[in-house]
Subunit: 409 residues, 2 copies
């Protein structure tokens, strides 16, 4: 018997018909050779509806209570999916995060899984049950309900797959898999059949819809993750450890695997900062304390002991970030702050680019030829990212998709 | 420090404004001399909405899964009430039935409380928190979520009050208290200031809105229960152990305390049943197995070894009951079954009636004078009940309210 873990997102569970459809898929996977553990998200936009009610009661909901509130959406889904499975004649049992043994720290709203005790799940599987687990949630040592952050039902699924030694983890969603680029921006973007964990990690962090922590977890525990549509029978994209032979084929074919894009980027420039040790932390510590995520950071070379520090934040956090920066700017020896809104991020991603020169140059040249100005550049070993005007994002992604011949990937 | 347990029903929590209103009431009760534990029902008609979704997935929802589904409504309420309390600057913490230590058997949908462990609640109170507990739910030894039956948030409240040795249990609802009769049927019905447990038990079983198990529990543990409106500042009705002096005053004033009414009654008559030992159980055991509640049962005197058995069920269960009875009728020596639909039940209730003759006669005479035919009669020590046509129910209740001079009660 092998264990298959499946995860169904909220859009796949938005109404009774879709719930019945999900139950059929789960039921068809459960047979003589496969035991199934399914994790589910909250139905459709029910999480947003709960947030809306909370916002009418308080501007700053207490994180512990918000977790109690939001965790109910997944509980409802898993009870309903079980009912639909039972209607199909299958034995099924729903488990909350607590019942499923998902222990976490007490960082309400963004808890980390500290331990996974799969005894109850194993017992239910051994009794012939399909197990449906409420995604996105866990429980502390003190029996308080926690949530793992938005989109973290993926994380629940991969963690369960790792803990249960599952054959694979299947993530069902409303898209057919991982695409070479966002199809809304790049019309000839196409679905990939497979992608390596590290590449997917860069794609996920940079725009493609999947919880990055779940990819990391899959990578660490080597759990193959299949991302696929719950609406049709297409084959999806397998995220897995790409072995050497695949790598070599990849090298021959193409080293760029995908173009990742992201909107909602704003840039803050702190001019003429005194260039001395500790200057970066004087700036970024207060931002972290204010819970503002800083993304790309660039520091120019020092001229006469002064440097410019540039970094990006989410557009929605720009006002708060600016007010934090203004407070510390004097201390940094700078009074001048510049702001640039309405930016986007475009990245080329691929493990094949590692140690292979020329990719960055080709990217910059492609953007230049398309008349797109590059605002900032940052790179990792398997990714090159440019910040451009958000209005240029589609043109940039399409041009790069063409330049790196991803049509034929 | 004394502990006050409060319970707020779903209609008192139907929207964010009402939730804020409830939080204000809880906050105003919590002061230097009172610790408050509040239990809450699901918001407005959210339980019905969940049942509706479930009914679109399966005709017969699995009881365990239905309990998981329905228990979420109360969790949402208690998180939202805590947020509203925190917005008012109060320290508050929400607890699920499981967290609150409400252990039950595993009769899903109608679980019985088997044990109450108040350690967590006491700890939270000692830390200065207002504790808001999800009503209507508990947890089994095996950590499965159970619900205690509809309307059982009252039960949660009284059980907590008993377990915490609370000074009193306050039930807030959308009515001002317990009335001498249903005001929709008897225009000059009026709110009572107090009522005894036993009387309330008869009123509750016979129509007045309050979970009868919660009254029993209050009676056993002698927890005074105040039923009051969450919408205004009226004084409500205190349900408590009426002491002898009160009783004497009651006797002087009036022995009938209330007129209880109930709709949705149907009658089944099994004619010419062989009158031998065990005959009743041959009939009522199969009904119990089919989960049909039989209410009033009347057996006529035997004539020539034959008797007629008459009993009432809820109108909504009539079809199922009839088919069960038809199956066993032959065995009982009877082929003939009669049915009477659209009946109602009217009762006069009062401990003062005990050992005092004349009340029954006065009741029957009053109904006769009003031209109302009595279909069945049944009595307990403190109650006399007549089954009448449902169309006569209002006239009957009003006539009895007048006859027993309850205007001046």
């Amino acid at each position: 018997m092998s264990i298959i873990v499946q995860k169904y997102g909220g859009s796949s569970l938005a109404n009774p018909d879709l719930i019945r459809n999900v139950a059929k898929r789960i039921a068809s996977t459960s047979d003589d050779s496969n035991q199934v553990v399914a994790t589910v998200s909250a139905m459709g936009d029910s999480t947003d509806n709960l947030l809306d009610i909370a916002s009418k009661i308080t501007r700053l909901p207490n994180p512990r209570e918000l977790d109690v509130l939001l965790s109910t959406g997944e509980l409802q889904s898993c009870a309903l999916v079980c009912m639909a499975l039972q209607e199909l004649g299958k034995n099924a049992v729903s488990l909350s995060g607590a019942q499923a043994g998902i222990l976490t720290d007490s960082t309400f709203g963004n808890a980390k899984i500290s331990n996974l005790s799969t005894d109850r799940i194993q017992m239910e599987l051994n009794q012939g049950n399909i197990v449906v687990v409420a995604g996105f949630q866990g429980v502390t040592d003190g029996l308080d309900i926690t949530t793992l952050g938005r989109g973290a039902s993926d994380l629940t699924a991969v963690a369960l797959a790792a803990g249960l030694n599952a054959e694979r983890c299947e993530i069902y969603t409303d898209v057919e898999g991982i695409f070479t680029a966002d199809p809304r921006l790049v019309p000839n973007a196409h679905k990939m059949d497979e992608i390596g964990f590290e590449e997917m990690l860069e794609m996920a962090s940079y725009g493609a819809k999947m919880n990055p922590r779940s990819i990391e977890l899959g990578m660490v525990f080597n759990v193959p993750i299949l991302v696929s549509s719950s609406m049709n029978e297409t084959s999806g994209t397998l995220i897995h450890e790409v072995n050497n032979m695949d790598m070599k084929v990849g090298e021959i074919r193409n080293r760029v695997r995908g173009i990742a894009t992201e909107r909602d980027v704003a840039k803050i420039i702190v001019y003429s900062v005194v260039d001395r040790p500790g200057i970066a932390s004087s700036l970024f510590e207060p931002l972290a304390q204010a819970d503002i995520s800083v993304d790309v950071i660039v520091q120019n070379s020092s001229v006469e002991g002064k440097t410019d520090l540039t970094f990006t934040v989410k557009q929605s956090q720009l006002d708060r970030a600016t007010s934090v920066v203004k407070k510390v700017a004097d201390e940094l020896g700078s009074g001048q702050i510049g702001i640039d809104e309405n930016l986007g991020k475009v990245s080329v991603v691929g493990t094949g680019m590692q140690d292979s020169p020329g990719y960055a140059a080709k990217m910059f040249k492609t953007l230049a030829t398309s008349g797109i100005n590059i605002e900032m550049i940052t790179t990792s070993e398997i990714r090159i990212t440019c910040i451009v005007k958000v209005s240029d994002l589609g043109k940039a992604a399409s041009a790069l998709h063409d330049a790196f011949e991803m049509d034929f990937n």
